[in-house]
C-alpha cells in the first residue's frame, strides 16, 4: 500500500518535472551554485563539514565515512533542493520564454542557454581552483572522446592512434606559443609581444590540430585497403611511432618534455572550444558524410555500391577526428603547461577508449556522459588510492555486460528538441 503510493508520488513528480525546459534547469543550477558561493561555507559548517565539499562530497565522504550524512544533506540542500524548486516554480514562465526565444531566433536561444551554462560552470568552479582544473580537464576529455567516437563509433573502426594525434596537437600548439611568445631556453627569446598572444592562441591550436590531421594520413591511407584488426594495429604502430619520434626530437625537449607554455587555456577558452567542437562534430556526424560513415561501418561494399565514396569518407573522417584530437591535445598542454611524450602512451589510450565505450558508441550525448563520468569519477574516487583502479574497471565491465554499446548509444543530439519549450512539445504529441 505504502509502496504503491510512493510510486505514484514519484511518477507525479517525474511528470511535473518533465515539463521543465532546459532553460529552467540551467537557471536552477545557476541559482544553486550562486547560493553555494554565498552561503555554502556557513551551510557546510552548520551540517558539520570542515569546508565546502568540492566534488559533491565524494572526497570527504570516502576519507571519513562518518561525514556521509552531512555530505548528503549538504548536496540535497545546496543542489537538489534549489534546482528542483526553481525548475518547478519557473517552469511555466520559462516555457513561454523558451518558446518565444525559440520561435524568434535559434541563435539567440542557443547563446542564452550557453551563457547560462557557462555562468553556472564559472560560479561552480569559482569556489576552488581544484574544481576549475578538474572541470577544464573534463571538458578537454569530452572533446577527445567525441573525436574518437567519430572513428570508433560512427565509422566502426577500432583506432588506437588517438594518443598519437593528441601528442601531435599538443606539441604543435605548444611549439607555436612557446617559440613566439615565451622566453625559453629551448627556443630562445620571444619573437612576438606577449600582449597579442591570447588572440594568436586559437591559431596555434588550429595549427596543432592541422598537424595531427596531417599525421592522420599515415592511418587514413592504409585504411583504404584494410580495416578492423589490421587497421587497429596500424594505428597502434602509429601511436608508438609518434611517441618514439618525439622522444628523439631533442629540439622539443625529448623525454624531458616541453614546459613553460603560456597560461592561456582559461575556462572561457576551454569552454568555447569544447562547445565549438561539440557543435561542429555534431553537425558533421548528422551531415551526409556522417551518414556515409555509418554506411561504411555497417557494410563497406554495400556503401560503395550505393555510390558512397568510401575512400573519401574514411579519409575525411580520420583527418577530422585527428584534428579535434589535436585541438584537445593543444588545450591539454596549455592547461597543464607541460607535456612529455610518455603522457601519450598506452595508459592514455585505455583511458580514452574507456570513456568512449562507457558513454556509448555513435552518440554525442554518450561521449559527453562518458568523458564527464570517467573523469569526475576518477577524481572523486581518489581517496581510495589503489582500489580506485579496481572499482572503475569493474563498473565499466558491468556497463559493458548490461549495455554492450555503452550507456547512451545511438542517440542523436538534437539541439532543436533540446531548446524547445517543453509544454509546447507535450501539446504537439
Amino acid at each position: 500500500m505504502q509502496a504503491t503510493s510512493d510510486k505514484r508520488w514519484f511518477k507525479r513528480l517525474g511528470r511535473s518535472f518533465s515539463q521543465v525546459p532546459l532553460l529552467g534547469w540551467l537557471l536552477g543550477a545557476l541559482v544553486a551554485v550562486a547560493l553555494e558561493q554565498i552561503g555554502g561555507l556557513s551551510l557546510a559548517w552548520a551540517v558539520g563539514l570542515p569546508k565546502i565539499p568540492v566534488l559533491f562530497g565524494f572526497l570527504m565522504a570516502l576519507k571519513k565515512p562518518l561525514l556521509v550524512p552531512s555530505a548528503l544533506l549538504y548536496v540535497v540542500l545546496i543542489y537538489v533542493l534549489p534546482i528542483g524548486v526553481i525548475a518547478r516554480v519557473s517552469a511555466s514562465p520559462l516555457n513561454r520564454l523558451a518558446g518565444k526565444l525559440f520561435s524568434s531566433s535559434l541563435v539567440i536561444s542557443v547563446v542564452i542557454h550557453l551563457g547560462l551554462l557557462y555562468a553556472t560552470l564559472h560560479v561552480w568552479a569559482g569556489i576552488s581552483d581544484y574544481r576549475l582544473l578538474v572541470l577544464k580537464l573534463a571538458l578537454i576529455a569530452i572533446l577527445l572522446t567525441l573525436s574518437l567516437n567519430v572513428v570508433n563509433g560512427y565509422m566502426g573502426e577500432f583506432s588506437c592512434s588517438h594518443p598519437g594525434f593528441m601528442a601531435l596537437g599538443a606539441y604543435g600548439a605548444s611549439i607555436c606559443t612557446v617559440v613566439l611568445f615565451v622566453d625559453d631556453k629551448l627556443f630562445g627569446s620571444a619573437l612576438l609581444p606577449a600582449a597579442i598572444g591570447p588572440f594568436f592562441f586559437p591559431l596555434a591550436l588550429i595549427l596543432g590540430g592541422l598537424l595531427a590531421a596531417v599525421g592522420a594520413l599515415a592511418v587514413a591511407i592504409p585504411s583504404f585497403r584494410t580495416r578492423g584488426d589490421y587497421l587497429a594495429i596500424i594505428s597502434l604502430a602509429f601511436m608508438f611511432i609518434v611517441k618514439s619520434m618525439i622522444e628523439n626530437l631533442e629540439i622539443v625537449g625529448g623525454p624531458r618534455g616541453l614546459s613553460s607554455q603560456p597560461d592561456w587555456a582559461n575556462l572561457p577558452t576551454v569552454f568555447l572550444w569544447t562547445v565549438a567542437g561539440i557543435w561542429i562534430i555534431n553537425n558533421f556526424v548528422r551531415s551526409t558524410i556522417g551518414k556515409a560513415l555509418n554506411a561504411v561501418r555497417d557494410n563497406e561494399m554495400a556503401a560503395d555500391a550505393m555510390t558512397v565514396n568510401t575512400r573519401r569518407t574514411k579519409f575525411i573522417a580520420f583527418c577530422f577526428a585527428a584534428f579535434w584530437a589535436g585541438i584537445a591535445g593543444g588545450l591539454f598542454a596549455h592547461v597543464l603547461r607541460y607535456v612529455n611524450p610518455s603522457t601519450f602512451g598506452i595508459q592514455k589510450l585505455a583511458e580514452v577508449l574507456a570513456m568512449v565505450y562507457f558513454g556509448g558508441l555513435n552518440s554525442v550525448y554518450g561521449s559527453i556522459v562518458g568523458a564527464l563520468g570517467i573523469s569526475l569519477l576518477g577524481e572523486a574516487l581518489r581517496p581510495l588510492e589503489i582500489f580506485k583502479w579496481i572499482i572503475i574497471p569493474l563498473l565499466l565491465i558491468l556497463v559493458m555486460i548490461y549495455r554492450p554499446t555503452g550507456l547512451i548509444a545511438f542517440r542523436e543530439f538534437d539541439v532543436v528538441k533540446l531548446l524547445q519549450s517543453k509544454q509546447h512539445s507535450e501539446k504537439g504529441v
Binding site: 596500424i234 611517441k243 583502479w389 569493474l394
Partner: protein
Amino acid sequence: MAVFLQNLINALQWGSFYALIALGYSMVYSILMLFNFAHGDIFMVGAYIGFGVSTALVALTAMGAFALPNWLILVLTILFSMFLTSFVGMIVERVGYRPLRDAPRASAAITGLMIGIILETGNLALLGAQRISFPPLIRTATYDLGGVYVTNKKIMIVVVSLGLALALHQFIRRTRWGMAIRAMAFDYVVVPLMGVPLNKMAALTFGLGSALAAAAGILFGVAYPVLDPYMGILIGWKAFVAAILGGRGSILGATLAGFLMGFIEIFVAMVFPSTLRDLIAYSIILLILVFRPHGFFGEPYSARLRL
C-alpha cells in the same frame, strides 16, 4: 659475422616470447573472432603463479619433503602453472567475454582491457609494490662458440617454445577437439548448430592460450628474472601486433610473426642507432601492413567480419 650470429640467437630468444603470447591471441581469435586484451596480464599472472609454485617446490625440497633436482622443479612448475593459469583464462572468458557474446566486438575488447587493469591493480594491492625475483632454478652456463655467446637458458627457451607451438599445432591437427576448433574457425554460425558446444570451445581456447601464456611467463622469469605487476602490458600489446601480423587465427602465422617481431626489434637496434629503434621497427610493421593488408597468413576481410 659473429655479431650477426649473436643477434640471431638474441632474436630467437626474444621472439620466442612474442610467439608464445601471440599464439594465445590467435587461439581465441580463431573461435570467437575477438582479441583477448587481458592476455598480456594473464601472462603476468602466469609468471606470478609460476613464481609461487616454484618457490613452494623449492621450499618443500629444502624442508626435505622430497628431493627434486632443480630441472625437475622447473618442469613441474611449468606444467602446474600452465594448468592453474588455464583456469584464470577460463574465468576471464566466463566473466568478461561470455556475457558479451552477441555484443559488438569492441565492447568485449573493453571488458578485456578492464579485466587486465583489475588483474594488475589486484596484484599490486595483494602483493605490494616490490618487484619479485624469479628463483634461479637452473644455473646459467655460458658457452663461447668463437665469439658467439650462447647460454643454456637461451637454448632451453627457444626449444621449449618451439616445442609448445608444435604441440599446439598437432593438437589442432590431430585431436577431435582440435578438429572442432578448426570447424568453428571455419564457420562460427553453422558449426554450433551441428552440435559443437560453443561455450566449451571458447573456454578451451582461452584455457589453451592462457596455458601458453603461463609457459611464456615462466620462461620469461627464467630469462629476465624480474617480475612486476605491469610487466604484461607492453609485451602483450606487441604480441597482439604479432598475432595480427601473422594473420588472424593462424597458428603458423602467429608463431612466425612472433619471431619476426623479435627479429625486427633486435636487428633494427643492431643496424640503426638504438634510440630510433621503436620509430623504425614500427614503421617497418606499418609498411608491411600497407603492402600486405591481411598479414602473412590471413585472408582478406569480407563477410567474416562481425561487428
